[in-house]
């Protein structure tokens, strides 16, 4: 029953630290309360400068429509195109609309490609001529209706389209599982990374090394506290998603816990491996940080993995975060159960176990 005392020691070490308990409690709460508001991919508040040479009724109508639209902020009338360009260069405007001789020119700042093109697409809808008939594009939605709206799925004329699962097109619903993943990753990844190497730097590891504690129980005693922390973190996240955003999982809750624990197994083991191989805390942190950011960006949390080039897509086969995010979105949003996520659960369990064994193997009692 050595392991019981070892775990107790780990917890005492965490508790005596002035910073760690605060971090463990506050970090998930702050992230869950703030970040869902940030993670909106909507294109909004595009500033449009109008260069109106014609001064016709038609151009007046346009200006009014721009000002009335949700997507645009009217940036003001400019006398010349060059003057409007100055605004773009200063970052005060995103799109220029020039009206000259009945012709329209939209010039959009496309450094951010999505914003530039969406902005000009919305704007060209406003410019749509009302009087004369126009060639209708099949089922495009852009040519129907008088109100200017974003190309929305609901109410689109022509061949119907059915949006499954996230009917309200709520971006928070899509991003909250991603936040679970990020919080879990940071909490169970960074803390163990500094653990063993910290003991190495402080010299206390020597004392453990001369005791008859086996490698297995030593590493397990290091891992278990982080799994308990993970359990706490995921509970806090689920409760906050429910209380603050009114979002509850569509699938079984126990499966979310299973997934979270498997992810915690991977990241805590990985952190310990990095810790085992490092000489200084700084080194360990750099290595871990590099992996964390790469794993996060290549997992499909923010961008679709299927759009990656082939070589990058191959990495998703060994990226546990990719399996986790696929599975948790299936459970959380699509309402899938174990049957739908069996593949991901198995993959996560496999990678996690492998990492756990490696963590034990890489720990050397003799230096």
């Amino acid at each position: 029953m050595m392991i019981k005392y070892l775990i107790q020691k780990e917890f005492l070490q965490i508790r005596r630290n002035v910073f760690l308990p605060k971090l463990i409690i506050m970090f998930p709460i702050v992230i869950m309360c703030v970040m869902p508001w940030v993670m909106q991919m909507e294109v909004k508040n595009i500033v449009v400068d109008v260069v109106d040479i014609d001064h016709t009724v038609e151009s007046q109508r346009l200006v009014q429509q721009i000002a009335a639209s949700n997507y645009f902020i009217f940036g003001g009338q400019k006398a010349t195109y060059a003057e409007a360009m100055k605004d773009i260069e200063k970052g005060r405007a995103d799109v220029i609309l020039e009206i000259r001789g009945g012709k329209y020119l939209i010039a959009a700042n496309a450094v951010n490609g999505t914003k530039g093109s969406m902005g000009s697409a919305y704007l060209s809808q406003i410019i749509r001529p009302t009087p004369q008939p126009l060639p209708v594009m099949e089922g495009s939605g852009y040519s129907q209706g008088q109100q200017v709206s974003a190309p929305s799925l609901t109410g689109r004329a022509g061949g119907g389209s059915l949006l499954l699962y996230n009917k309200g097109q709520n971006y928070k619903l899509y991003m909250i599982p991603a936040l679970f993943a990020i919080v879990m990753m940071l909490m169970t990844g960074f803390l163990p990374t500094l653990n063993i190497v910290g003991e190495k730097e402080a010299g206390t590891i020597e004392q453990i090394n001369v005791t008859p504690v086996s490698k297995w129980s030593f590493i397990l005693a290091k891992l278990i506290p982080y799994w308990l922390i993970a359990l706490f973190v995921i509970t806090v996240c689920l409760l906050l998603a429910w209380f603050v955003y009114g979002i509850t999982p569509a699938g079984p809750v126990w499966l979310i816990y299973v997934l979270a624990m498997l992810l915690a197994l991977f990241f805590s083991s990985f952190g310990l491996i990095v810790s085992n191989y490092s000489d200084t805390m700084q080194q360990a942190m750099f290595v871990m940080w590099f992996f964390v950011v790469s794993i996060m960006l290549l997992s499909g949390l923010f961008t679709p993995t299927r759009s990656m080039p082939q070589w990058a897509y191959l990495t998703t086969y060994i990226n546990p975060m990719h399996y986790f995010i696929d599975a948790i979105r299936t459970v959380f949003i699509r309402g899938g159960g174990l049957h739908e996520t069996a593949h991901q659960v198995l993959a996560l369990a496999g990678i996690g176990t492998l990492m756990g064994c490696w963590a034990v193997q890489s720990y050397k009692k003799n230096s």
């Binding site: 940030v38 749509r128 001529p129 689109r156 389209s161 960074f190 500094l194 299936t330 309402g335």
Partner: protein, 390 residues
């Protein structure tokens, strides 16, 4: 002065001795630039599509083939019922399903002009069912699919459906009106690297500098060597500056590496004056170093310093800097919060200087804010530096 130089050399030796950290310091930016430049895109590609039909009529076949030919869609399989398709989408084996309902309803086009484009699929109705978990992507997939499916079958060529790229959908040809021209400034091919490279520079420089410097002072405190430094004839201020100098040089080397990668590997333009790009970056590096020093002075242990600079700092830098999510779309309160995140101004300035190629006058505001922040952070860092140990 001689003392100071000796001190700088001592600090540099500390850093250079650790070969593994040095390797990581230079390897990391290179790998991350590659990842960001090539792998992280928001393009629509390889959307897994199932076709729901018991038998394929030639017309359906043609439309489906056209879809499969585009790089946007991959037809994974054919199933018999929509329920099966829904199951496939739920278990993440497909993203979208198509159900043809041929010839039942005439074209609902109010003026009937749709038929001008030839028979073909124009009077074929498609029911599209799409995984809506990610609203943005779902929207784009449907639009792409619809615009491919609606093109005439007998057309010799079909323009690639890129609804948000011009001029295929809104330009002349299919256009909204003849007199409408669209110009995409600075980034006509809409490469995401143009947007991401300045952002990754902002993130890497900030975090690497902060992580490097954050432990510089606290390590001496923890190891007990700080006392020796404090009783040495070198002034405390000099101790701090001497610690920052090697990191400044190192960060500058990383900056050059990043810029070379951006220009020659990722093909991102350096349109503006190189001098000003370097100058603003140096200012930003100073800011990041000051932040690192501040963390180092406040933190009592290396553990705290590293967690603060790597974990706590990572979230605002990635989320609130306008790197992935546009600041203008956030609620007002968060926009205020984002206003104090330094990378935001640096990324903005770099987008303007590197991609748009404007003069320094246009980024005066960003430079002013960055300067202000540097002064404030440095002042606090110096003030917090205890010359006496407890």
């Amino acid at each position: 002065m001689k003392q100071f130089i000796a001190f700088v050399i001592k600090e540099a030796k500390h850093i250079l001795r650790d070969k593994r950290t040095m390797l990581i310091l230079f390897g990391m930016p290179v790998v991350m630039m590659l990842l960001f430049g090539f792998a992280i895109t928001t393009d629509v590609k390889n959307v897994r599509t199932v076709v729901v039909t018991s038998e394929m009529s030639p017309r359906t076949q043609q439309a489906v083939e056209r879809l499969a030919q585009s790089e946007y869609f991959v037809i994974t399989q054919t199933v018999n019922t929509p329920q099966e398709a829904e199951r496939l989408i739920r278990s993440q084996k497909a993203d979208m399903s198509l159900t043809p309902s041929p010839g039942l309803t005439p074209n609902p086009s109010p003026r009937g002009e749709g038929n001008l484009k030839g028979e073909g699929s124009s009077n074929l109705q498609w029911q599209i069912m799409v995984d809506g978990s990610d609203p943005n992507m779902a929207q784009q997939w449907t639009t792409y699919a619809q615009s491919i499916l609606s093109q005439p079958v007998d057309g010799k060529h079909y323009s690639l459906p890129s609804p948000f790229k011009f001029p295929s959908l809104f330009g002349e040809g299919l256009g909204v009106r003849p007199g409408l021209g669209v110009r995409l400034l600075y980034n006509p091919q809409m490469k995401s690297a143009y947007n991401f490279v300045p952002a990754i520079m902002g993130m890497l420089l900030m975090l690497i500098c902060a992580m490097m410097t954050s432990i510089s002072i606290v390590r001496e405190k923890e190891k007990g060597t700080m006392e020796i430094l404090l009783v040495s004839p070198v002034k405390p201020l000099m101790v701090i500056i001497a610690k920052a100098v090697p990191y400044l040089v190192l960060a500058f080397a990383i900056l050059i590496t990043i810029l070379l990668m951006a220009r020659f590997v990722l093909g991102v333009p350096l349109a503006g004056s190189l001098f000003w790009i370097l100058a603003v970056s140096t200012l930003y590096i100073l800011l990041a170093l000051s932040l690192g020093l501040l963390i180092s002075n406040v933190a009592q242990t290396q553990l705290v310093a590293l967690l603060l600079s790597a974990m706590v700092l990572l979230m605002p830098v990635v989320m609130l800097s306008g790197m992935l999510f546009p600041v203008e779309s956030m609620p007002q309160v968060l926009q205020w919060l984002a206003a104090v995140v330094p990378p935001r101004y640096y990324i903005e300035a770099m987008r303007k200087l590197m991609i748009m190629g404007v003069g320094i006058g246009e980024v005066a505001r960003e430079v002013a804010v960055l300067t202000g922040m540097t002064v404030v952070l440095l002042a606090i860092a110096l003030k917090k530096f205890d010359v006496r140990l407890k």
